[in-house]
């Protein structure tokens, strides 16, 4: 039995084992940040076209930037940080549209928030599953 277990371990890629065993553990702050993004995106999507749309875009862009910067310095978190960069880019794109004063269609605003919410949900799941 012991030999079988040893063989199983050796059969796996060494780097994968190392990365997995020493991966970043659960971080309550990280989980809160991504949950906040998800909740706000689900609320802001209903306010596209309203007077608060610009302020909402600034708020969600601030939150995704905070999430990205927080993930950046977590040790052994390459995949998490890469995902946070992508999520931040989605939100920054919305804020930039409002900043330049270009007309922003409600359809565009809704799709943007849906993308942010869906991505945040996916990330929330894996962040919540981190080893404790």
């Amino acid at each position: 039995m012991r030999k079988l277990l040893l063989l199983l371990v050796l059969a796996l890629n060494g780097c994968a084992i190392y990365d997995s065993y020493f991966m970043t553990g659960f971080d309550g702050n990280e989980y809160q940040l991504i949950t906040q993004i998800r909740v706000d995106a689900s609320r802001f999507v209903k306010q596209c076209g309203s007077p608060s749309a610009t302020a909402n875009a600034v708020q969600i862009a601030y939150e995704t930037e905070m999430f990205e910067k927080y993930s950046e310095q977590l040790p052994r978190n390459v995949d998490g940080h890469k995902a946070s960069i992508e999520l931040n880019q989605i939100a920054q794109g919305l804020q930039e549209r409002y900043e330049v004063g270009a007309p922003v269609s409600s359809a565009f605003c809704r799709v943007k928030y849906s993308s942010i919410e869906n991505s945040a949900k996916i990330l929330q799941h894996v962040i919540g599953d981190r080893p404790r």
């Binding site: 277990l5 371990v9 065993y21 991966m23 995902a83 989605i90 549209r97 269609s105 996916i122 981190r130």
Partner: protein, 74 residues
Amino acid sequence: MLVSSTDSEFAAAAAQVQNLVQQVQAGQMSPDEFNELLADLQRQLEIVQDASRLQFKEVLNTCINGLITIISNM
């Protein structure tokens, strides 16, 4: 045809592109906005891939810790 792909992520992305094209044609959004949303789709697929890799490591982590527990109890 792409919408009916067996890859669920790919099929969902294709369906979303189809939906976006219809909205542009209906004048509900500008071509510029459409281009940005296409770039966002690519970003979302990257997020799915990053999340899949994280999920794999989490499962492996659980397995390794389980193995360590079994071995240490032998």
